[in-house]
Symmetry: C2
């Protein structure tokens, strides 16, 4: 059996309180006893029981991440970053894979309450109903997401609207006029913002774009492929398509390849996220600063937890427009 604090206390000929101090607030212990105790600790490779510490302090040092699509490489990367940063700050991160399923969410909420999870990071796509059941001293961060809930929270987001606007404007500068847009799911904040960015530029340049050039996708690869089929069914094919995420751009590109449609020569394409790799040509896209998002989220969350303060704040992280090889400049006059 592993040694306990009282074993160490006996071996060091001090009290358990002193051992505890050596571990948690060494400055409160005289150098000589600290040394003495540390030696014993080292010698026996004593490690305090995390279970006992958590129990005693009522702090689990655990965070939970709500996510609904681990398969999306954007989220896979985000998980990687968050997990790493949490661990580096001595917190454990639990992945709650909700699959957008309400029962699942509820189970996780119960889990969170039972296990004294200290903070929650939420990503898109989760229903809102259950969140009142959260312990109301829960600390919250929402990444790219709005939450209808009494609890205040930190919102971390990419500047979706401006980034998309920039990308669309880039197409305009390449003389594109017939620019189509593949959106994400209807009620999702990021979807809406990205679409607004598109509409901003359409309006600004008074481009002749009607509803036909907007296809509602769902952020999944397949809807990109469906989008292309839809646009092909129109009387006038757009000359450029913006997809609201890379996954859909990939789907669209794959479909184009299989139909022998040359990108960018016949069709220009832009994505969003900056996580595509499998393509034969680098995708022009808006790269989200996943590292920055993760860092802001974890640091923000932990400082709320440790400072005991909450508040509604928004931190916007800039996306980076990456020019790949999937857009072509139209000759003037060309459509």
């Amino acid at each position: 059996m592993a040694l306990t604090i009282s074993d160490i206390a006996k071996l060091s000929e001090v009290s358990t309180a002193t051992v505890s101090r050596v571990i948690n607030s060494p400055e409160k212990v005289s150098e000589s006893t600290r040394k003495k105790v540390m030696e014993v600790i080292k010698k026996h490779n004593y490690q305090p029981s995390g279970l006992a510490q958590s129990f005693r302090t009522k702090k689990s040092k655990t965070l939970a991440l709500f996510i609904y699509d681990i398969d999306n490489p954007f989220y896979a990367k985000l998980i990687k970053e968050l997990n790493k940063m949490a661990f580096d700050r001595d917190y454990t991160l639990i992945i709650c894979d909700t699959e957008n399923n309400k029962d699942r969410e509820l189970e996780y909420i119960n889990y969170i309450n039972q296990n004294k999870i200290e903070g929650l990071i939420m990503t898109e796509g989760i229903s809102t109903d259950h969140f009142n059941k959260l312990n109301n001293n829960m600390y919250l961060v929402c990444i790219d997401r709005d939450l209808d809930c009494e609890l205040p929270y930190l919102r971390v987001t990419t500047n979706n609207r401006e980034s998309v606007a920039k990308a669309i404007e880039y197409l305009v500068n390449l003389n594109h006029k017939k620019i189509a847009f593949v959106s994400g799911p209807k009620d999702v904040k990021t979807s809406i913002e990205r679409k607004n960015g598109y509409l901003d530029i359409i309006k600004k340049y008074e481009l002749p774009v009607d509803g036909d050039y907007i296809y509602q996708g769902d952020f999944k690869r397949e809807s990109g492929s469906n989008a292309l089929d839809y646009f092909l069914s129109l009387s006038e094919l757009p000359s450029a398509i913006f997809c609201s995420n890379d996954l859909m751009a990939e789907g669209l590109l794959a479909r184009a390849l299989s139909l022998n449609i040359d990108i960018p020569n016949e069709l220009s394409l832009i994505g969003f996220d900056g996580v595509s790799k499998a393509l034969y040509k680098p995708l022009t896209t808006i790269k989200q600063d996943i590292h920055g998002i993760a860092k802001t989220s974890i640091n923000g969350l932990i400082s709320m937890i440790e400072g005991g303060v909450k508040g509604n704040t928004v931190k916007e992280i800039s996306g980076e427009f990456l020019i790949g090889e999937t857009c072509r400049r139209l000759k003037s006059g060309e459509e």
Copy 2:
């Protein structure tokens, strides 16, 4: 503050012991008191503190997963399955992203010891030195991996050798003779087994294949692309290439596309894993039964933990050969 067991005891006019029994072994309580207590529990939505339970029983109900490449979609899917199954069995799964870094591993091993993690699932690519530091009542499962360690463990693996042999034989039956192979990293068990499957068939049919047709990759996408460049530099291009995982096959395919090499008309291609989606044509591949692997791993691990037994066992899960559209039948005589 949340209610505690003694609050419930008072409200139900029984002892805490009885409340505990109602929760953990209701059969030991008379129906009437059980009902009475359950009502109070329901009414107040009492949830026992997981922290206290873990502390008291010294069972964290937590498993850890060692992984080094969350980005690889095979692992992303595996994580998803494992996470879900663990949760369904009331265990928490912690993701230890080692990044193949020894210090990181050591930190995680310490974490595991401190927090009384009950079981460990390991995947490929982790060094072996630290594992002696593991509490020696740790329960272990290795997925597709061998471990040099005193602890007995359950090994769960796809029948790599046979699956690859089957795929290569398929190429032979399509009249391919010049079949090249892109391996994974050198010392990794699955790499070796997959290569052996290839060599088995090469030998069986006495195919004229020398070392030139074997390229050592590293399971990353980029090495697939490099592999193609390498094969193109040979005096005789192979007519078919087997990649030891899908990621490398994707890389190779992307490179082929950008070089205008038609797959499968100029070159046949097979992968391994069954996780590719981004391709313009479905990849012929060996699909690993990720669900089965996860299920066997979690169930095996938990029954070891709860049964208190360990043992060296191997469970082989069959891969499924999936014929996509990346292989072509050669006319007899054609090379």
